[in-house]
């Protein structure tokens, strides 16, 4: 479904150039969930943004559904691939009602039965029709993220790009959103590409995970290897140890990886 080959992304030129992504390759099958994990600056979100063409330049090949992507996104491609962002406060227009937020993509893509689709999208994400004419500030963070998911789903895409979809949420709300994403995937056979810094969240949703550091892919792990705490690379081992909580001795031994 998604094939990435020798992807490199550089910002700036010459001495001040930043190599955000360096020669990364991976592929995601139809109906699969694939995770990209890493710390800040690892390039994980940049890859997602290139696929969505928010970042229009790269070198290497990005293929979606067998077709090589160009820097310009066609309407059909946009419809097939939607994105959910980290911050539900920043991702929704504060002066638009939920109805207007969900209606806009339908208008852009010229879809009919708009009222029915809006109510259907709300139902799909577990919200009642009473939410339809509320503004983002009148609903909770978790409900906002549900609206962001509804907006992505209303075009019936095949692929969802998820950029840290739960890291701005309380853990109890995170559980609800993760359950929602899992159910939607099972019901509709969606393909997920998810970026997260949280290994447990990624393991919960994704069957395979790429660990990134400073623009490079350190290794690719299956959910089983991750759960067995059996990574091949020391970088991943250190990341996993830090995720498990504070350990005074372990911290003393931390290394910097290039």
């Amino acid at each position: 479904m998604i094939e990435i080959e020798n992807l490199s992304i550089t910002f700036g030129e010459g001495a001040s150039a930043v190599h955000a992504v360096r020669n990364v390759s991976f592929s995601v099958a139809e109906g699969e969930s694939y995770g990209l994990v890493g710390e800040s600056g690892s390039g994980k979100s940049t890859i997602l943004r290139a696929i969505a063409r928010i970042n229009p330049t790269w070198s290497g090949t990005i293929r979606v559904n067998g077709r090589t992507l160009s820097s310009k996104r066609s309407k059909a491609e946009a419809r097939a691939m939607q994105m959910v962002f980290q911050d539900p406060y920043g991702a929704l227009h504060p002066r638009h009602t939920v109805d207007a937020i969900l209606r806009e993509p339908l208008e852009i893509h010229g879809l009919r039965d708009r009222d029915a689709r809006i109510l259907g999208a709300l139902r799909d994400v577990g919200l009642g029709p009473e939410f339809r004419f509320r503004y983002p500030h009148q609903i909770s963070g978790g409900q906002r993220q549900r609206i962001a998911v509804a907006r992505a789903l209303i075009l019936e895409p095949e692929i969802l790009l998820l950029d840290e979809p739960t890291s701005a949420l309380d853990v109890s709300v995170q559980a609800e959103i993760l359950n929602l994403l899992k159910r939607l995937q099972q019901d509709r056979g969606l393909t997920y590409l998810m970026v997260s810094h949280n290994l447990a969240v990624v393991a919960h949703l994704c069957g395979r995970v790429a660990v990134m550091n400073r623009g490079r892919m350190v290794e690719e792990l299956t959910e089983e290897t991750l759960r067995a705490h059996a990574p091949a690379e020391p970088y991943t081992a250190q990341l996993m140890s830090a995720t498990e909580g504070y350990d005074r001795e372990a911290v003393r031994g931390y290394r910097t990886f290039d």
Binding site: V171, S172, Q174, A200, A242
Partner: protein
């Protein structure tokens, strides 16, 4: 100060805010003591954990009101203390680290100068002495090239480095109590652990009392000595950190269970059922 005596004592603390929609109670009857230890306060957003920390320093917003039967620091009644006495305590003896260094540092002053200023004010030291102390402090917080970092502006340092600069600034007056409100939430996990190790050293080496406010139950349990679990402005339970997994309260249990686990595969995650009784029942 005798070591047995608690540094901070809080009894029946209430914090409420006047809003256009009436009075909102953020903290409702919280009592605890802090010794020379690492005390964690965990809860979700709106649990009142940050407002509890702010009330100790008298940093409650203007439309807020603090009521308590008792709130003391080193035997001093914080509620009745004069603004002058409070100014002497704040920053010098009780210090606070906020979540995001980007909003807490002055963007147009070099980070080293900001640390030196904190020392100069509280220790009434000369420029030269303050500068030297600031450089030492940068080294203490494990910044590799203090001379270079001293001359950087906040926008030129990474999030992790900015947070260390903040910590250096807050620790330079050698406070007796440090209130750290989500000090590491904006940082990568490995940097997060390194920052905690620094705070750990301050508690061990200087006998500082630390209040760590966080939403991360596992982090707090692995780092602190005791953990207070808050919900709806109230304390649900107080636990020894090592025994978090023996937590009795359904709220604490619910929070633990709804976290995805790395070790165990789950089809769906249990969702927290909030019991309205938690808002009123007595503490366990």
């Amino acid at each position: 100060m005798t070591p047995e005596k608690p540094l901070v004592e809080v009894e029946d603390l209430h914090v409420s805010f006047r809003t256009p929609h009436g009075r909102v109670e953020a903290v409702r009857g919280v009592s605890f003591t802090l010794g020379r230890e690492r005390l964690g306060i965990v809860g979700e957003s709106g649990s009142g954990k940050s407002q509890t920390g702010r009330a100790i320093l008298g940093l409650t917003a203007r439309n807020g009101r603090i009521d308590a039967k008792r709130m003391t620091f080193d035997g001093i009644d914080i509620l009745k203390a004069s603004p002058r006495t409070l100014r002497k305590i704040r920053g010098a003896r009780i210090s606070m680290i906020m979540q995001d260094p980007r909003f807490s540092l002055n963007p147009v002053v070099k980070v080293g100068e900001q640390i030196a200023e904190a020392y100069a004010i509280h220790a009434k030291a000369s420029r030269r002495v303050s500068r030297r102390r600031a450089l030492e402090m940068l080294e203490t917080v494990q910044i590799r090239d203090p001379e270079k970092v001293f001359h950087l502006y906040p926008h030129q340092v990474s999030g992790g480095m900015g947070q260390r600069v903040m910590i250096a600034m807050m620790l330079i007056p050698e406070p007796d109590v440090l209130i750290a409100d989500e000090p590491t939430s904006a940082l990568d996990v490995t940097v997060q652990m390194q920052v905690l190790a620094l705070l750990d050293d301050m508690v061990r080496d200087r006998g500082m009392g630390l209040v760590l406010i966080s939403h991360d139950l596992h982090l707090v349990a692995s780092f602190c000595d005791r953990v207070i679990v808050m919900y709806g402005g109230r304390i649900m339970e107080v636990l020894e950190a090592g025994r978090l997994h023996e937590a009795q309260h359904p709220y604490t249990r619910g929070l633990l269970e709804c976290l995805p686990s790395l070790d165990r595969r789950q089809e769906m995650l249990p969702v927290l059922d909030r019991d309205p009784a938690w808002m009123t029942e007595a503490r366990r």
